[in-house]
Amino acid sequence: MIQILFYLTATIAIFSSVMVITRANAIHAMLYLITMLLALAFAFYLLGAPFAAALEVIVYAGAIMVLFVFAVMMFNFTKEDIEHEQQSIHAASWFGPAILASIILFELVYVISSSQTNIALTRHLIDAKMVGIALFGPYVLAVEIASFVLLAGLVGAYHLAKPVQVNTVTNMEENAIKKEQSSQPPTAIHADNNQQKSATKKFANN
């Protein structure tokens, strides 16, 4: 019964992951990705890792996918973009890399399935208590470093997503200088580019 459930879950996960990389519409791909994450969470549960399953649902299918959804809402893809995406999927350049990656996949499948160990996983439950004891015991340094990584990610994301400052102080000063220069009559000695442009504009106006 457990095996049948695992086969079903694995089929759903593989099918939805294939759908993710073949959709042209970003929202559809994201929904399939969420389906894949939920199927994987159930697979974790079947493998005796209920804490990891809960984390997969909460953090991955919850938080990370909400980030994706908000990003796609900001991108505002139009119908033309989706059609362009559809055409790029059907392009001939798609097949070469896919065939090469499939060859790698078949090699890996052959190596794993030819080992003939056939050791069944005993359903030994590893609950959240044991994971927590390990996290704050031998792995405490890794947890601290992970907190550094999250802080760096937060600062980096804030800095990168900031809108570009258009009217900085230096820009305003430069504009003021340009205005002063263009108001002066152009002399032959100090004829830099800006003044030449303003002079031509004046001639055009005249």
Binding site: M30, A52, A101, L154, V164
Partner: protein, 102 residues
């Protein structure tokens, strides 16, 4: 109660990894490449969980938590980058973005 053989868990993780790899190579939209990257990360995480279940040790799940932490940080920064790239190329086409100067 037939338990799951270890090969089948590893096979699922390998298939997911390869599908994500195909997605990264074949797609030209950076957003879809990011989603394919998430599929690859989940394949690797499943391999860790299977190994932890096989050795009956906690380390597999601890590594899974590290992977999820890294994925969260990576997605945050990558989506911020995509928001900036969206101003240069509306379609987020990697071939267009590769020809940026400066």
């Amino acid at each position: 109660m037939m338990p799951i053989p270890i090969e089948q868990g590893l096979l699922l993780s390998v298939v997911l990894f390869s599908v994500g790899l195909i997605g990264i190579i074949a797609r030209r939209n950076v957003l879809f490449m990011l989603m394919a990257l998430e599929i690859m990360l989940n394949g690797a995480a499943l391999a860790f969980i299977v190994a932890g279940s096989y050795w009956q040790s906690v380390d597999g799940q601890v590594m899974f938590i590290m992977i999820i932490t890294l994925a969260a940080a990576e997605v945050g920064i990558a989506l911020a980058l995509l928001i900036q790239l969206h101003k240069r190329s509306t379609r987020l086409d990697i071939d267009e973005l590769a020809q940026m100067k400066g």
